[in-house]
């Protein structure tokens, strides 16, 4: 009997690069401050209550990233930002550079050139990110844990 020849995999047998698991050396993930301006308490009873918005940060661990400035996006979301809530959140996290009144909707080209409010908004809303901490509802006091930048909004069965 002849010895079995060694198995040579045909070229299509190799793993496709997209199939390989990614290396675990990734920077810690995080949540944008912009997102917290949209979040309310998940409880139905809290939704109608004014103090359920915004959620308040507790023990927040922040991180600064640098992202490309997208003036069109800022212009698009600015009308939908709740300014008093953003001021509350910014003050809680120690940012004081924002004006007390919501700035007028700036033209995209204007914001592109301007270094002022648009950039500051970009820095706070998109570049500042939360890694760990808690979000607390002002009405019911429910704490939503943020772990690795993912907030846990699962409610226990008795609260649904």
């Amino acid at each position: 009997m002849t010895a079995k020849p060694p198995f040579i995999p045909p070229p299509h047998f190799t793993l496709h690069p997209t199939n390989l698991p990614l290396p675990p050396t990734t920077p810690p993930p995080k949540m944008k401050i912009l997102t917290t301006n949209y979040l309310t308490c998940a409880l139905r009873a809290c939704k109608s209550h004014p103090s359920s918005f915004p959620l308040h940060f507790r023990d927040a661990e922040l991180q600064q990233d640098s992202l490309p400035f997208n003036a069109a996006f800022i212009a698009n979301i600015l009308p939908r930002i709740d300014w008093p809530a953003l001021l509350t959140t910014a003050t809680e996290l120690g940012f004081t550079g924002l004006p007390a009144e919501k700035p007028d909707l700036l033209a995209t080209a204007e914001m592109e050139a301007d270094e002022g409010v648009g950039r500051e908004l970009h820095r706070i809303l998109l570049e500042t990110q939360v890694v760990e901490g808690k979000l607390v509802c002002g009405n019911c006091g429910h704490e939503y844990a943020i772990h690795q930048g993912i907030a846990n909004f699962l409610l226990p069965g008795h609260l649904v």
Binding site: H16, T18, Y38, F73, I150, A151, N152, L155
Partner: protein, 276 residues
């Protein structure tokens, strides 16, 4: 093939092993990406927008959104799937949340929402104190509130049967959405069902926004508008008892049975004058 929805609840089904399998399969990657792109083309968003990805999983659909320069926020119930999304460094913010418990966002937040292969999971209630209809209603109410006026949502899902399909569509309509179903490759094994939802009149585009308008510009789409049929036909297209059509049908039936039936004439089915 068994449906995963029938085996376990989603947070348990997509464990580390299953999530890894799902995300690394190049077949699923291709399908998910193409469906996300299809959903995005149905949304036809004019500028970079804020999008909610319902059931974002490991962020396969989100990557298509990022590629189109949109900012997205994802929700999923499976922690393992989200962990993979973290490893993949997706651009969107992620939330661990059960969509059947509502959508925890301020009213009018999002320009649009997409969902790829997720909402059929809502049709299964996993414990006795929740019901599938209740979870669907919660989800669609929350989604309706969190979208801005004129916003759109495209939700691709795999209905198990006709019942689930009407259950999901009905729940969306009850929440206030204008709803329509788009089917890609109908009648084949690869059929993909997209629920296209609109919130209110499209104030930005001007004029009444409707699902039929959404798909009007697309190639190879046949619009089957069942609303007209529903309004005109009365009871499912059958003639009303006592009408001329009904009498003629009955006479035809009798003739087929070999009975002696009076001939049809222009007087058949006419009302007699009231006797004085």
């Amino acid at each position: 093939m068994s449906r995963p929805e029938d085996t376990l609840p989603p947070d348990l089904f997509y464990n580390d092993r299953e999530s890894q399998k799902y995300t690394t399969s190049s077949r699923i990657q291709t399908i998910q990406t193409s469906m996300a792109q299809r959903a995005l083309s149905l949304l036809s968003l004019p500028h970079p927008s804020l999008i909610l990805d319902v059931g974002c999983g490991s962020g396969l659909s989100g990557e298509a959104l990022t590629a189109s320069e949109h900012t997205w926020i994802g929700m999923d119930i499976s922690a393992s799937m989200l962990a993979i999304a973290l490893d993949r460094e997706t651009a969107g913010d992620l939330f661990l949340a059960d969509i059947g418990q509502g959508v925890p966002f301020r009213p009018g937040t999002f320009d649009a929402a997409i969902s790829i292969s997720a909402i059929q999971w809502l049709c299964n209630a996993d414990s006795s104190h929740v019901s599938a209809t209740g979870r669907l209603a919660r989800f669609f109410e929350g989604l309706y509130a969190s979208l801005k006026r004129g916003g759109k949502a495209v939700l691709q899902f795999y209905p198990k049967n006709e019942v689930q399909r009407s259950m999901i569509t009905g729940a969306a309509i009850r929440a206030g959405f204008g709803a329509g179903l788009l089917e890609d490759d109908p009648g084949t094994k690869n059929v993909k069902v997209y629920l296209v939802l609109t919130v209110g009149a499209g104030a930005e585009e001007g004029g009444a926004e409707d699902v039929t308008n959404v798909v009007r510009g697309l190639e190879g789409v046949d619009v089957i508008d069942e609303r007209r049929k529903g309004r005109g036909g009365g009871r499912g297209g059958e003639d009303k008892k006592g009408s001329k059509g009904w009498i003629l049908r009955k006479k035809e039936q009798g003739r087929n049975k070999g009975k002696v039936v009076k001939a049809d004439s222009k007087y058949t089915g006419r009302k007699r004058r009231p006797a004085f």
